[in-house]
């Protein structure tokens, strides 16, 4: 809690002069701003301040000042926010964790946040401060109450005006840290509540988000999470099928991912990864002294190349690589020397690209589309989700095959080759999702926003989830490279 203490000191520091003014007076008055006089004892806030009176202190004085002197408030809140900088970003980081897989969502994210924000249903700033005051009453130390009250008021006013979800969170976190330990639990509850609520709201718009939520809630393996998500989708489909007579075009990422055997490959990859990990551990346990140190260093080198990879979302031009041949070229280059063929993956990408071309061109390029029927947004969405699921499944398959070949051939495979591959795959997913969403926008130009936006968000969300799955699968390769390294080492020392 050193941060909280530090910031409190900062807050108190800023108010030091007032504290000194108020304390000697010893009057819990000041409810009337114009006359900080002892005799004026009419303030409505007075009631709330009864308790602190036991140890006469400043809070009373501060409150009206905040209300009356906007300039001062501003200054104070700036100061205090400086102190809470860490907390502010903490709140922010919670939100970004909550939406970790939404990072590439772009316009979709804004919409989600807006939606989350309006339906959060958290107490209003005034309610919050009232609550804080109440809790404050129960506190014995008025000094603590003093800083917090001011802080709460100041901060609550500020960010709520900004009206962003981030601001709301940061105001809440400052409530948490400033009202002392008793409130911290309550504050955390509120945060948790907000977190859950936000996720529910996001999830409402897209069932795929539940996967992410599940990922964060449990320590389950990736394939388990995906399987559960798929089962939920199957259940939903079964329910809607029984009720809906007309068949709607609904795309379920998880089910499709399984259909392309993505789950099975992931499960197999997890098995290999786990086994390699335990083998590495047992080898390490047999070594000692210099040998152990040396091997550890070598393994750390491998670990580093896995942890230092940056999957930054560099801007991709959606006009580029119209037929997927560029991706194929890049992929083939990256896979050179690896005895696994990326054919299935390139094929999947090409088929996605040709679908996009087919949907963007107004004239029917496919023979099957005899009528000049316009593609519905649902159809575009379904094609997008299907392509993403297929591409991801094929990527996982590729990683699984790579893992098998590394273990099988025991040749040296550089981690950098694998990370480069991961970057290429993630970039392609991002590119495809952009192409599909611009398709959606075109197809849905006559649709209402509330029809189109969830679909667009859904595509971005699944693209982002896909990238996470691929990155997780990439991480699963680490123990495999480690054990392969150990085996090669043993072989060379035998010779």
């Amino acid at each position: 809690m050193s941060d909280s203490e530090a910031s409190r000191t900062a807050a108190e520091g800023s108010e030091a002069p007032e504290d000194q003014d108020a304390s000697p007076a010893g009057t819990p008055d000041g409810s009337s701003p114009t006359a900080p006089d002892n005799s004026t004892d009419v303030a409505p806030t007075r009631k709330a301040r009864r308790r602190p009176e036991a140890k006469p202190a400043a809070p009373v004085e501060d409150t009206p000042k905040v209300e009356e002197q906007p300039a001062k408030t501003l200054a104070e809140s700036t100061v205090s926010q400086g102190g809470w900088g860490y907390w502010g970003s903490w709140g922010k980081s919670i939100l970004s964790t909550a939406t970790a897989t939404v990072t590439t969502v772009g316009q979709g994210l804004t919409q989600v946040i807006e939606k989350a924000e309006t339906s959060l249903g958290i107490p209003s700033p005034t309610e919050l401060s009232a609550q804080v005051e109440e809790e404050e009453k129960e506190q014995d130390s008025p000094a603590g109450g003093d800083g917090s009250d001011e802080a709460v008021k100041a901060d609550v006013d500020g960010p709520s005006a900004v009206g962003s979800a981030m601001g709301m969170l940061s105001s809440l976190t400052s409530v948490v840290q400033n009202t002392g330990k008793t409130v911290i639990t309550g504050g955390l509850d509120a945060l948790e509540f907000i977190g859950k609520k936000t996720m529910d709201v996001i999830a409402e718009g897209d069932p795929g988000f539940k996967k992410t939520k599940g990922l964060m809630n449990r320590n389950a393996t990736l394939s388990q999470v995906l399987r559960e998500a798929k089962e939920r989708e199957e259940l939903q489909t079964a329910e809607t099928e029984s009720t809906d007579s007309e068949k709607k075009v609904v795309a379920h990422y998880g089910m499709l991912f399984d259909e392309f055997q993505g789950l099975s490959h992931l499960e197999a990859l997890e098995i290999l990864s786990r086994e390699s990990e335990s083998k590495v551990k047992s080898v390490l346990s047999t070594l000692s002294g210099d040998e152990l140190v040396r091997l550890r260093e070598e393994l750390d080198g491998i670990k580093d190349s896995f942890s230092l990879v940056e999957f930054d979302d560099e801007e991709v031009d959606e006009k580029k690589d119209e037929d997927g041949s560029e991706f194929e070229k890049e992929l083939t280059e990256a896979m050179e020397g690896l005895s696994v063929s990326p054919d299935k993956l390139s094929k999947a990408c090409k088929s996605a690209c040709s679908q996009i071309t087919g949907m963007t061109k107004p004239e029917p390029s496919d023979e099957e589309e005899d009528e000049t029927k316009e593609v519905s947004v649902e159809e575009v969405h379904a094609a997008a989700i299907r392509s993403l699921a297929e591409l991801t499944a094929r990527s996982i398959e590729l990683f699984h095959k790579l893992a098998e070949m590394i273990l099988f051939s025991n040749g040296s495979t550089e981690a950098s080759v694998l990370s480069q591959l991961t970057v290429i795959l993630c970039k392609e997913l991002s590119l495809l999702s952009k192409k599909f969403t611009s398709c959606l926008t075109t197809a849905g130009s006559n649709e209402k926003r509330d029809v189109l936006n969830p679909l667009i968000t859904g595509v971005f969300l699944e693209a982002s989830n896909s990238a996470s799955y691929i990155q997780d699968a990439f991480q699963l390769l680490m123990p495999i490279l480690e054990i392969s390294h150990i085996q090669r080492r043993a072989e060379s020392s035998e010779q």
Partner: protein, 212 residues
């Protein structure tokens, strides 16, 4: 495509005995005379119906090559059923059965149902292993036995489905702890409306999203 149970199968046996072809025949109902060598493991899935219940078979088709053995062994664990395949036209594939069996028993759970399959029954003229030999081996080791042909599809359905029936019976008898996923059995998503109310038109065996 909701299912009551999911069974994990493995297909094992010497290289070239027709493991991948059996799977392809079962999932896609087609035969490919020339098949690429399987690397590590490939997958197939299909839905079948037993006792009015939808059961999804998730099949792990392993590589037969000796050099892959250390990898494929890792996949044995958590299988509810195994198809141990030999080629009736190649005596050596039959001779290796003991090794395969030991391997399977050692790396999987003890309740795993094993179906011994003598494949390529269509090549009667080139037969090297008599049917009786296969039956005797199966009896001796407590396996179910069948001769199949991935080419003509003879007994292919039966081989997969009879294995599932055996597993299903074991579940009914309480031999399998279905809540332990290490047994290779998963319970499907729970339905508010039970599977028994599914239309009887689905009584036949339906091809699932088989894919390889």
């Amino acid at each position: 495509m909701a299912y009551a149970y999911l069974f994990k199968y493995i297909i094992i046996g010497d290289t070239g005995v027709g493991k991948s072809c059996l799977l392809l025949q079962f999932t896609d109902k087609r035969f490919q005379p020339v098949h690429d060598l399987t690397i590590g493991v490939e997958f197939g899935a299909r839905m079948i119906t037993i006792d009015g219940k939808q059961i999804k078979l998730q099949i792990w088709d392993t590589a037969g090559q000796e050099s892959f053995r250390s990898i494929t062994r890792s996949y044995y664990r958590g299988a509810a059923g195994a198809l141990l395949v030999y080629d009736i036209t190649r005596r050596d594939t039959f001779n290796h059965l003991t090794t395969w069996l030991e391997d399977a028993r050692q790396h999987s759970n003890s309740n795993m149902v094993i179906m011994l399959i003598g494949n390529k029954s269509d090549l009667e003229s080139r037969r090297e292993v008599k049917k009786e030999e296969g039956e005797a081996f199966a009896r001796e080791h407590g396996l179910i036995f069948m001769e199949t042909s991935a080419k003509t599809a003879s007994n292919v359905e039966e081989a997969f489905i009879n294995t599932a029936k055996e597993i299903y019976e074991k579940i009914q008898e309480g031999v399998f702890d279905i809540n332990n996923e290490a047994n290779g059995i998963k319970i499907g998503p729970q339905h508010p409306t039970t599977n028994s109310t599914l239309p009887s038109s689905q009584g036949g065996h339906q091809a699932g999203g088989g894919c390889c």
